[in-house]
């Protein structure tokens, strides 16, 4: 009985995580520029991966997995924002400008580093 409940919980978490990753993918395709795409990849992607990892904890007979899952989730949370930030910064430095639908770009108007470009 407990086994079934555990399996159902794990399955639901897997589906939920997969749904978040699907929306991250959709976001990558549909959003207009790199910066908005990084929102989708860094947030929905991170939550999706973490939820799927957490699903592992509920699988019956998977002993000693909880510690590894905690470490995995922690590393996702530590690394995802760093890579998103680096990609956004690298893009800005190399001259990729936000899409035309943007309403403000105070980095361009206030930072001396980019004024010349």
């Amino acid at each position: 009985m407990i086994d079934i409940l555990q399996n159902i919980t794990a399955g639901l978490l897997l589906l939920g995580g997969a749904a978040f990753i699907l929306t991250a993918t959709l976001g990558l395709v549909r959003l207009p520029d790199l910066y908005t795409r990084m929102h989708a990849a860094s947030k929905a992607g991170t939550v999706g991966s973490c939820v799927m990892l957490i699903a592992l904890v509920f699988v019956p007979g998977a002993d000693g997995v909880a510690g590894r899952v905690a470490a995995g989730v922690l590393f996702f949370l530590l690394t995802a924002p760093v890579s998103a930030h680096l990609l956004a910064k690298a893009a800005y430095v190399s001259g990729v400008r936000p899409s035309a639908s943007s309403v403000a770009d105070e980095l361009k108007t206030t930072s001396a580093r980019y004024k010349a470009k």
Partner: protein, 156 residues
């Protein structure tokens, strides 16, 4: 002193990751941890003060904001008409140390509709990309009364 603490934390993480809680494994973790801290350059400046309860409160706020954030992005990309008003705004920083700025920038990246892009050379301004930039003042206020205040409470 700080270094011994880090070695110990690394050893515990190693125990968790290898899922084998035995004494030889702990010793192995301690040895590898010591080697790792030997390789990494010593951090300059003194260690921040840590207030455990405020850190827990910061972490809870963070998890809540992260889930909210993923939900918002998910809702946005499946809506047939994406009503986007993205933009980059400047955020005047109150936190000062490298550690605090890094933490704030990371937390901002993982929260609803915001992504840190750059820090100015004088380290006084953080440039944040927002997926909904219609109300810049509200976005600034959210960071100021949310994460920045919590970080200052937790590490000062």
């Amino acid at each position: 002193m700080m270094r011994y603490g880090i070695v110990l934390i690394l050893a515990v993480v190693w125990l968790a990751v290898s899922a084998s809680y035995t004494v030889p494994n702990l010793v192995l973790g301690l040895i590898v941890g010591a080697l790792v801290t030997f390789l990494v350059r010593e951090q300059s400046g003194e260690a921040p003060k840590v207030r455990p309860f405020a850190v827990v409160s910061l972490f809870i706020l963070f998890v809540k904001e992260l889930l909210l954030s993923a939900w918002k992005v998910a809702k946005l990309v499946v809506s047939p008409k994406m009503n986007l008003r993205p933009g980059i705004f400047a955020y005047p920083l109150k936190v000062e140390t490298d550690f605090e700025i890094t933490l704030l920038a990371n937390l901002i990246t993982l929260t609803p509709g915001t992504l840190s892009v750059d820090v100015s050379d004088d380290r006084r301004t953080l440039f944040v990309h927002a997926i909904d930039c219609a109300d810049i003042d509200a976005a600034r206020r959210d960071i100021e009364t949310g994460f920045e205040r919590k970080i200052m409470e937790a590490f000062r």
